[in-house]
């Protein structure tokens, strides 16, 4: 069978030109940005949308009785519709703006958890979760006398579905699982996780922070109860995130924070709350950020995303091929299904030293435990060097990474 996908329509060099930040020197070398799992860079269209908003439309949303407020509101709510379409949410009101993935998880843990959990209930999280998908559950579990238990991860960094199946019983109330591991790049079989959770009557929250930047996520196909992600990992501004939830669940959940916008009427005799999504959006939101995210979604919708995914997969396999050909590199996380993340160790060298020496050569990577200490502990390491690729990276970037690693080795090994 011949190749079905034609990557020719995707041109990384052309896309790269949309990202002004990439065109700079760092420490005397052209920047090679390989820290996309930490945050993605912003295309000019996003930056311009934010500038336009502040230059022309800045106003508070929903309540002003003037033209600027109308324009701001229209763009703000327009972005909600764009994001809802982007993740295939049935309705825009199921898209709730948060400050980020972390706040989305805290919102569910606090609001749903406080009104639903009781002593003896169990919450399962995969052992490879980011701390932000562990600690909020521990906080509410402690308050309610519930427990948070890790679902084991296999040697290759994939979730142990058999062990997961064995852990499930009717006391499990919620399963929280990353769509993609930030530390390892593993793509988890979240459709299975959701189905298995539902089979025992548990809810499933999927942390999509590391997924949304790589392919089109469909929350209805996943059938997850909650899906959370951050704008800044989707080529949008920092400080903004999305919580998607099933409508019946969101409707039944009590407000998370009190304030303006989230109320219907306030009196000292009793306050009633606004409808979705405003019930969960107390205070003036990040209007510019939302509009910027809307522009990021437009940008992604206008590109050949399937081609971009093929390009990213090719970058990862090229990088892994070069890693295998380089003595002393150990890749951490070798699951079959991975995003374009290569977490690794240079044997005999501390990841922080490697990161510093790469930075001196203009190569930006992340080093450390990636806010995922439990999985690092399981692998018996304190951290890794993580090179994470996006569609604007090129084979030349991979070459620069390995040149820089060769030099780092001369210093350290």
């Amino acid at each position: 069978m011949s190749e079905q996908i034609n990557p020719v329509t995707f041109d990384a060099e052309r896309v790269r030109a949309d990202f002004p930040i990439l065109n700079q020197e760092v420490n005397g070398h052209p920047l090679v940005y390989l820290d996309n799992a930490a945050t993605t860079q912003k295309p000019r269209a996003v930056i311009q949308a934010i500038v336009d908003y502040y230059e022309h439309d800045n106003s508070n949303v929903h309540r002003g009785a003037h033209a600027l407020a109308d324009r701001a509101t229209e763009k703000f709510e327009g972005a909600r519709v764009k994001v809802a379409n982007f993740i295939n949410a049935p309705q825009a009101r199921q898209v709730i703006w948060t400050r980020g993935t972390t706040e989305g998880i805290n919102l569910v843990a606090s609001s749903w958890g406080r009104s639903n959990l009781k002593a003896g209930d169990r919450i399962l999280v995969s052992a490879m979760e980011h701390h932000s998908n562990i600690v909020p559950w521990q906080l509410i579990a402690e308050e309610k006398g519930a427990s948070v238990e890790p679902v084991p991860v296999l040697e290759d960094g994939s979730i142990d579905l058999d062990a997961f199946a064995a852990m499930l019983d009717e006391r499990v109330r919620l399963v929280a699982c990353g769509h993609v591991s930030n530390a390892l790049g593993t793509i988890n079989p979240v459709q299975d996780v959701v189905r298995m959770a539902h089979a025992v009557g548990a809810l499933a929250l999927i942390d999509g922070a590391q997924a949304v930047g790589h392919w089109a996520v469909d929350v209805q196909a996943l059938d997850c109860d909650f899906y959370v992600f951050s704008s800044h990992k989707l080529f949008g501004p920092t400080g903004l995130g999305v919580l998607y939830g099933k409508e019946s669940l969101l409707d039944a959940m009590p407000p998370y924070q009190g304030g303006g916008e989230m109320i219907e009427s306030v009196s000292f005799a009793g306050t009633t709350f606004n409808q979705l999504p405003y019930k969960f959006e107390a205070g003036t939101p990040d209007i510019a950020g939302v509009i910027g995210l809307g522009a990021a979604v437009d940008y992604l919708q206008s590109m050949d995303r399937a081609g971009a995914a093929v390009h990213e997969a090719a970058l990862l396999s090229y990088a892994e091929e070069r890693a295998k050909a380089t003595p002393g590199i150990r890749i951490v996380g070798t699951a079959q299904q991975k995003t374009s993340v290569m977490s690794f160790l240079l044997e005999g060298a501390h990841p922080n030293d490697v990161g510093l020496l790469l930075d001196q050569q203009g190569v930006a990577v992340r080093t450390g435990n990636h806010c995922a200490q439990p999985i690092m502990e399981q692998f018996g390491i304190s951290g890794t060097v993580r090179a994470s690729f996006s569609f604007y990276n090129t084979r030349a970037d991979v070459d620069r990474l390995f040149e820089a690693l060769d030099k780092a080795r001369q210093f350290l090994v």
């Binding site: 420490n27 501390h350 922080n352 030293d353 510093l356 020496l357 001196q360 450390g368 350290l412």
Partner: protein, 139 residues
């Protein structure tokens, strides 16, 4: 006991680093300084002696003898260990008064080194300096 603060002074380090005109030589020198720093006994690598705020693990131990403070430090990362040596060159085998009087900001500025380190790593070094200064203040 390490030679830092006695045979190798902060002035020596500033002088040597000022000779180098590329990052490779500067970093090689820093790493070499780290190699001169004697490793800390496993038994002293305790939770109490761990300095918080460092991405890599940093241990710091202090002793007071004859009116002077003696510091030993270690890290699992080479470059950080080199930077520890740089700090100890300023503070080891000094009186509490000398430790308190030392202008560490001026030293770091003169080394022109911290700007090459990210804020988090810089903070780790600062956490160690804060601990050393605290030891001197409590002496």
């Amino acid at each position: 006991m390490s030679r830092f603060g006695t045979e190798i002074t902060s002035d020596d380090i500033v002088d040597t680093l000022s000779f180098f005109d590329n990052w490779e030589d500067r970093y090689k020198y820093i790493i070499d300084l780290g190699k001169e720093l004697p490793p800390l006994d496993e038994a002293r690598r305790t939770e109490d002696n761990l300095v918080r705020g460092c991405q890599s693990q940093v241990w710091l131990v202090s002793d007071a003898r004859d009116g002077k403070l003696f510091f030993e430090a270690d890290s699992d990362a080479f470059i950080v260990k080199g930077l520890l040596a740089v700090v100890l060159a300023a503070y080891n085998a000094k009186t509490p008064q000398e430790v308190s009087d030392f202008d560490v900001e001026a030293y770091f500025a003169e080394l022109n080194l911290l700007k090459h380190l990210s804020v988090t790593r810089g903070n780790g070094l600062r956490a160690m300096v804060t601990r050393i200064q605290g030891t001197a203040a409590a002496s």
